[in-house]
């Protein structure tokens, strides 16, 4: 299939069930490591599914994800092509020294020390949301009760943005991350509203600084107003949609087989490795990560020519038997676990320490407070959100 036979695979590849990987991943990894795929826009890309290849391309310092070259593929079926060619994407430095400088300015907020300091507050919020969920009674939607509100609260606190505006963020974020649901007009309107909102917030913080990331970036004087707005938007979108969805997916995976949950209840010291394994095992990760090749690159004995748009499937790579023993099994104690859920190299997820902290805290709190937690539906009845760049479940119905 795909490369070499002239066939082009529609991408993303549909999956048989919400928590299951597409069977195609295995055949792609073994027989077609570089595959021709058609994105939702209809444009073509080269899909990589092997661990070594995905790791290599993602880590390569020469390439970035900006898809603004004339021969770059568009992700979604809109004129601009969506997320990686938005105004936000075009404003922030994407590679080289400029990128490293920007990244390090923001990275100080995501150090292990900061995360350790933040942890008790995240725990307190998780406890509160869990108690509310339990008080309201079951069945409950864990995504709506805990999975979504917690990361939003955290990133809003980090940015000094009012948590009460979160429904607006959810909509704006959706228009940026959903590749099929919205029209060009709806996306443009949302982006304009979002930019205006963030610009207003930057002005307010300049006038009255707080103890948050944005205030500090403003005070540092190193970023232009446009860069400040883009940074705020990027963090807001990246800081909640991804984690919110991952919380629900993680609990979905852990509850889908009783033995997994019970193993954790019996031994909560496994939380750290269980979170990593959930990240590795996630079969609904969304699109993957793109790279535009400014030069020829060789992967798996194939030359990808300059001008190719590459789609890296970290989730397929995470199940590569060449890289992971018993790759198709969920081992909650797996260690080491060099999965690619956060990418690799200089562009690996900036917020990964925060994501890890939130996932660990949620799991700890639920194991402690709701050890009898279970799915309220059969795992096969769980439904995916369609079209989302980051992958998620529509809801996670639970009981206890």
């Amino acid at each position: 299939m795909g490369h070499g036979t002239g066939e082009v695979l529609p991408y993303p590849i549909p999956s048989p069930a919400a928590l299951e990987p597409p069977p195609e991943w295995e055949s792609l990894r073994s027989r077609c490591p570089v595959a021709r795929v058609a994105l939702p826009s209809g444009d073509e890309a080269a899909l990589l599914t092997r661990y070594d290849d995905v790791r290599q391309v993602l880590s390569d310092p020469r390439f970035g994800r900006l898809l603004n070259a004339p021969d770059a593929a568009r992700l979604s079926d809109t004129e601009s092509g969506g997320l990686f060619n938005s105004e936000m994407a075009n404003t922030l430095p994407q590679s080289g020294a400029g990128h490293q400088r920007w990244r390090r300015l923001v990275a100080k907020w995501f150090t292990a020390r900061r995360m350790n300091a933040l942890r008790p507050r995240i725990e307190a919020m998780a406890e509160e949301l869990t108690a509310e969920m339990v008080a309201t009674g079951h069945p409950a939607d864990l995504k709506a009760c805990l999975g979504f509100p917690l990361p939003v609260w955290v990133i809003c606190a980090l940015l000094g943005v009012p948590d009460g505006d979160r429904d607006r963020f959810a909509h704006w974020s959706d228009t940026m991350l959903n590749l099929t649901r919205f029209s060009e007009d709806e996306i443009a309107t949302a982006q304009a509203e979002f930019s205006a909102y963030m610009a207003g917030h930057v002005r307010a913080k300049r006038a009255e600084p707080g103890e948050d990331l944005l205030s500090e970036l403003i005070a540092g004087g190193e970023l232009s107003d446009a860069e400040l707005v883009a940074t705020g938007q990027a963090l807001l979108v990246a800081g909640h949609e991804t984690t919110a969805n991952m919380i629900a997916k993680m609990l979905g995976m852990l509850l889908a087989e009783r033995s997994r949950w019970e193993r954790l209840v019996a031994d909560p010291s496994l939380v750290r490795t269980a979170v990593e394994e959930a990240l590795r095992f996630d079969a609904n990760p969304g699109l993957g990560m793109v790279r535009y090749l400014g030069e020829d690159v060789e992967v798996s004995d194939t030359v990808l020519p300059r001008g190719t748009t590459v789609m890296c499937s970290m989730a397929a790579a995470n199940r590569d038997a060449e890289a992971f023993e018993s790759a198709e099994e969920m081992d909650l104690g797996r260690s080491p676990n060099p999965h690619l859920a956060f990418g690799a190299g200089a562009h690996s997820c900036l917020g990964q320490a925060l994501a890890r902290t939130e996932l660990q805290v949620v799991l700890e709190v639920l194991l402690h407070r709701v050890p009898s937690l279970a799915l309220a539906v059969r795992s096969g009845e769980l439904r995916r959100v369609e079209g989302l760049a980051v992958g998620g479940l529509r809801e996670l119905p639970v009981r206890w």
Binding site: S59, R103, A112, S348
Partner: protein, 64 residues
């Protein structure tokens, strides 16, 4: 075991600090790795190997 870190490659993920805080720290101003102990004690070896293995930037090198 001898440990070296490449501060230019470091992407600030912080896993090394979480796994082996006796050996790795991060600079406050930018999250870049700081090596606290280039020749760590034997009992830390397992944690250090894991840190090197999972570092997203492949910034940790080990030698005997």
């Amino acid at each position: 075991m001898k440990v070296t870190v490449d501060q230019d490659k470091c992407c600030g993920a912080g896993q090394c600090v979480m796994l082996a805080p006796e050996v790795f720290d991060q600079r406050d101003e930018d999250g870049v790795v700081v090596l606290l102990e280039p020749e760590p004690a034997a009992h830390l070896e397992a944690a250090i190997r894991e840190a090197a293995n999972v570092c997203p930037a492949a910034a940790i090198e080990l030698s005997e």
